[in-house]
């Protein structure tokens, strides 16, 4: 634990000092990192009641109740980026968790089995879009002798499904209240919903600006934004980060940064969380820029302050990962069109049904639309399973193929 705390404290201090020194500059990436590190720090505080949740959880509810919360994926990501994940993976494996299972979940389970961090008080699992995550949260809670709350998410988008999820969200609030002793005040929920909508509005413009050609952002700048920022939905922190990105992109529009962009790529699911220069090298060496991430998109309408639980339920049900792969493919093709993408990289994270389970479906769906796609075979968390040379060759060969495909002039062909 001391190593993790030391890493978090040092990172928070460093980021805070840099932000203070740089005054009023938007600095969105640093503000985002600082928010994430502060959340991680709160999750490490044994005095704070925290929650680990499934990825479909509407965090506005928990934030309105003052419960810092995250996904197991957030835990794994923070540890991997700190270079501290391997002992937790080993701890989980030594307790019988398959080394072929999702590295994010193994890392989180390892945190519990090794008592690396104070365990959360609440486990709020969701049955979609990651059922393995539901089992990971159930496993973690059972180890501690607790029962998880499970939000069952249907895969259809009917009114009945909305009502069903809405009712369960009501029960989720009661469950959190019962354990924390905190009630969800109507005014707090209303403010969280409005704050969430303001964040959403900023992000809509941020992502719209990111569709520009050439891209105003570099390959790694929006890494993890769309998957981590929802943890802060309903808070001022989320508004600050989204607003900082908006300010930054407005500034960049006035003074467009020089770019060597030659290829525009879309990255599916999560990025590699441990340190690696692969993506930066792809941009530097070939001008191949990741201009879009699958999760960096707004796929829901503004939440209705009059019907907060219902509109949160609809957001869950209308997520592109909810339902068949057809829904997800349609969303990907929309991203490809909006961002004018040359090729798609699917990391196919080990042990993930969305990553490896739907690989063939996603590949066929994209290829039918003549969108080139590269399937990798990587574990975004477990660096022990990672051969940089192999992944580098696949990425570079894909980029070479795309350059040939676009029939760039002979000067850039090999």
């Amino acid at each position: 634990m001391s190593q993790v705390l030391a890493y978090l404290d040092a990172t928070i201090d460093g980021l805070t000092a840099k932000l203070e020194a740089e005054g009023k500059a938007p600095n969105p990436r640093k503000r985002f990192a600082l928010a994430a590190m502060r959340l991680a720090r709160r999750l490490c505080d044994p005095e704070v009641v925290t929650a680990w949740c499934g990825v479909a959880t509407p965090f506005e509810l928990l934030n309105a109740m003052g419960v810092p919360a995250c996904y197991p994926e957030f835990i794994g990501g923070v540890l991997a980026s700190a270079g501290l994940v391997v002992p937790t993976l080993e701890a989980a494996e030594q307790c019988g968790y398959s080394s072929d299972s999702c590295g994010y979940h193994r890392a989180a389970l390892g945190v519990i089995t090794s008592r690396l961090l104070p365990p959360p008080r609440l486990f709020l699992a969701t049955s979609q879009p990651c059922s393995a995550g539901m089992y990971a949260l159930e496993s973690a809670s059972r180890i501690l002798g607790r029962s998880p709350f499970v939000l069952h998410v249907p895969t259809d988008r009917s009114e009945a499904a909305t009502s069903y999820v809405t009712r369960q969200l009501g029960r989720l609030v009661l469950h959190v209240s019962a354990i924390t002793g905190r009630r969800l005040a109507e005014a707090d929920l209303a403010e969280a919903i409005l704050a969430s909508n303001r964040t959403r509005a900023s992000l809509v413009e941020v992502f719209e600006r990111c569709t520009d050609v050439p891209s105003p952002i570099r390959s790694t700048e929006l890494k993890n934004l769309g998957i981590v920022l929802p943890l802060f939905f309903g808070t001022a922190e989320a508004e600050t980060v989204a607003g900082a990105w908006l300010d930054e992109l407005r500034l960049r529009a006035e003074r467009p940064p020089k770019t060597g962009e030659r290829l525009r790529l879309l990255w599916l699911q999560n990025r590699l969380q441990f340190k690696s220069k692969l993506i930066e090298d792809l941009e530097t060496d070939y001008g191949a820029v990741i201009v879009a991430d699958e999760f960096n998109d707004i796929t829901w309408p503004p939440l209705d302050p009059e019907n907060p639980l219902q509109s949160l339920a609809e957001r869950i049900l209308f997520h592109p990962y909810s339902g068949t792969a057809e829904v997800r493919i349609a969303h990907l093709l929309d991203l490809v069109r909006r961002y004018r993408v040359d090729g798609v990289i699917n990391p196919c994270h080990f042990g993930c049904k969305q990553g490896t389970g739907s690989r063939g479906l996603i590949e066929r769906g994209l290829r039918r639309a003549e969108v080139p796609v590269l399937n990798l075979e990587v574990d975004c968390i477990d660096s022990r399973n990672f051969s940089e040379g192999q992944v580098r060759t696949r990425l570079q060969a894909f980029v070479e193929l795309l350059l040939q495909r676009r029939e760039l002039s002979a000067e850039v062909l090999p």
Partner: protein, 270 residues
């Protein structure tokens, strides 16, 4: 001007020299070993020493293979996928699908006139590659070069259930202990590689109709693997005379084109 292609693989370091007209001048293959810088230097020395007549012309290098970034004076580093496609298009221009099995990678490459349309590579591990065959040959207590003759010596094919190098090795030992003849085991190994490689082929070519298939890489020297693959795919497979030099040849051809095309252009990658 001499154009030199260097293919630094996990098992061998291959070099090909061509002239300004793109004509093959010489080739060399040396074991990569533990120190690939030494292997690169040796391959380079050997191929230049083999030039007849000897030449002191300037050398332009393009490197490929997993060690491509280790060549200091390269004009460019290009992946082996692109180089193999380029090389096979020069040797067997009708090729529309190339299977390359090297030391630790296997690849299926769809191509058109030397340009890569699509490719698939082995997942996760190196099962079914040159290293796999080396390990199996060790378990059988034979040389890897004997595999193809043993394959031709029988029509019996043992069933092997595992492609994990460790498990397959112990399966081979069990078969030997149970009295299974070595040629039958060898054919079983070749069939296992063929089935796995055919999976890669079908990922880039769901329909094989009309494809002209060729094979490159060191494993293409093994006629038993080529036979098994041909049977598995139901199509003939062409193998150029020096399949292990295809990647290096492609790199040399790219060096030539890039150098003659424009010396001031932005490189694909250096």
């Amino acid at each position: 001007m001499i154009y030199l292609g260097l293919d630094i693989g996990s098992l061998t370091c291959d070099a090909v020299a061509i002239d300004s007209e793109g004509r093959f001048l010489a080739g060399a293959v040396v074991p990569t070993g533990a120190r690939n810088l030494e292997a690169i230097a040796r391959a380079r020395t050997e191929v230049l020493a083999a030039l007849d007549p000897p030449s002191t012309a300037q050398v332009v290098v393009v490197s490929t293979g997993y060690g491509r970034d280790r060549v200091a004076d390269r004009l460019a580093a290009v992946t082996e996928i692109t180089c193999h496609a380029e090389g096979i298009a020069d040797l067997l221009p009708r090729t529309t699908l190339l299977i390359d099995i090297g030391g630790q990678d296997s690849k299926a490459i769809r191509l058109d006139a030397g340009k890569v349309l699509d490719f698939a590579m082995n997942d996760k591990c190196a099962a079914g590659t040159g290293r796999f065959l080396e390990a199996m040959a060790r378990a059988l207590e034979i040389e890897v070069t004997e595999l193809q003759d043993l394959d031709a010596a029988t029509t019996s094919t043992s069933a092997l259930s595992s492609m994990c190098t460790v498990f397959a090795e112990s399966e081979v030992v069990s078969l030997l202990a149970g009295g299974t003849a070595v040629p039958s085991i060898v054919r079983g190994l070749h069939r296992a590689i063929a089935v796995r490689t055919a999976g890669l082929v079908r990922r880039v070519a769901p329909s094989l109709t009309g494809l002209s298939i060729s094979m490159s890489g060191g494993v293409a020297h093994n006629a038993g693997v080529v036979r098994a693959l041909s049977e598995e795919l139901g199509l003939p497979i062409s193998v150029p005379p020096r399949p292990d030099l295809v990647g290096a040849l492609g790199a040399a051809l790219i060096a030539r084109r890039r150098h003659l095309g424009s010396t001031s252009s932005r490189p694909l990658r250096t």
